[in-house]
């Protein structure tokens, strides 16, 4: 097995998932800062998520879903 440094690393979020975070956040009338605190991440991460420029981990996806009182499937949409 080749040394890990020479192995091809997976690209950072090559295919970004679409999501409805902004829409659901507006419905619940909560700010990005509040959602960030509920999901235990920085506000910038919420900005990246809303702009569809970051794929969250499963853990974060669940936290966001819980904060938005919704299910993961309702928030995130996977496109191949």
């Amino acid at each position: 097995m080749a040394s890990p440094i020479f192995q091809r690393q997976p690209r950072l979020a090559a295919n970004f998932m679409k999501n409805r975070i902004k829409e659901l956040r507006a419905k619940l009338n909560i700010t990005q800062e509040e959602l960030a605190n509920l999901a235990e991440v920085r506000r910038e991460t919420i900005v990246f998520l809303e702009q569809g420029k970051y794929n969250p981990s499963l853990n974060l996806a669940f936290k966001v879903a819980k904060a938005l009182k919704s299910n993961i499937e309702e928030i995130f949409e996977f496109e191949e």
Partner: protein, 181 residues
């Protein structure tokens, strides 16, 4: 304490620390930099606990991993190129060979450390004996530091004694051309 305040304090501390270290090293005092670095590290750890906001999250860790991998790759390629250039022109100045050797050791050290730490994290994630792995890791780090100190300690070198360069051990390079005072 907010994130902004913490970052401002951290930058101020880095500026002060770098000033203290550079002045102390220029005065050939190596105790003060170690104490200053230890104090700064403890101070930052203490202050970080006071921050109530999230200072870093999974996106930062992902970016940090990506940045670290590219930094290692860039450093290794640059250091290898510099090493070959220095070895090619070592006849003009014997010191170039020492620098080239130091660079090659640093590349070797970084790649070995990366591979070991990578395997360590892989093992520790699956293992139920995390404490054992951490203890073994700590012992390995101490051993690596001791071996590095022995290799880089300059046991085989030229020493200036009574106005003359005297062999200490078996240096594999000629005596320095600089005057011995």
């Amino acid at each position: 304490m907010t994130n902004k305040q913490f970052f401002a304090i951290r930058i101020a501390l880095i500026i002060i620390l770098s000033s203290v270290v550079s002045v102390a090293v220029n005065n050939k005092n190596y105790i003060i930099p170690i104490i200053a670095m230890a104090l700064a590290t403890l101070g930052l750890l203490f202050l970080k606990k006071k921050v109530k906001e999230v200072t870093e999250d999974e996106r930062d860790y992902a970016l940090a991993g990506h940045a670290a991998r590219w930094t290692i790759t860039a450093y290794c390629y640059t250091a290898v190129c510099a090493m070959f250039i220095l070895l090619g022109i070592k006849d003009t100045n014997p010191a170039y060979e020492i620098i080239a050797n130091t660079l090659s050791f640093s590349i070797f050290g970084i790649l070995i450390a990366y591979s070991i730490i990578f395997k360590f994290y892989q093992k520790i994630q699956l293992s139920k004996h995390k404490k054992w792995y951490i203890a073994i890791g700590a012992v390995l780090i101490v051993l690596f530091m001791l071996v590095s100190l022995r290799v880089l300690s300059g046991e085989d070198n030229w020493i200036c004694q009574n106005g003359q360069w005297v062999k200490h051990g078996q240096p594999d390079f000629p005596a320095p051309t600089a005057p011995c005072r």
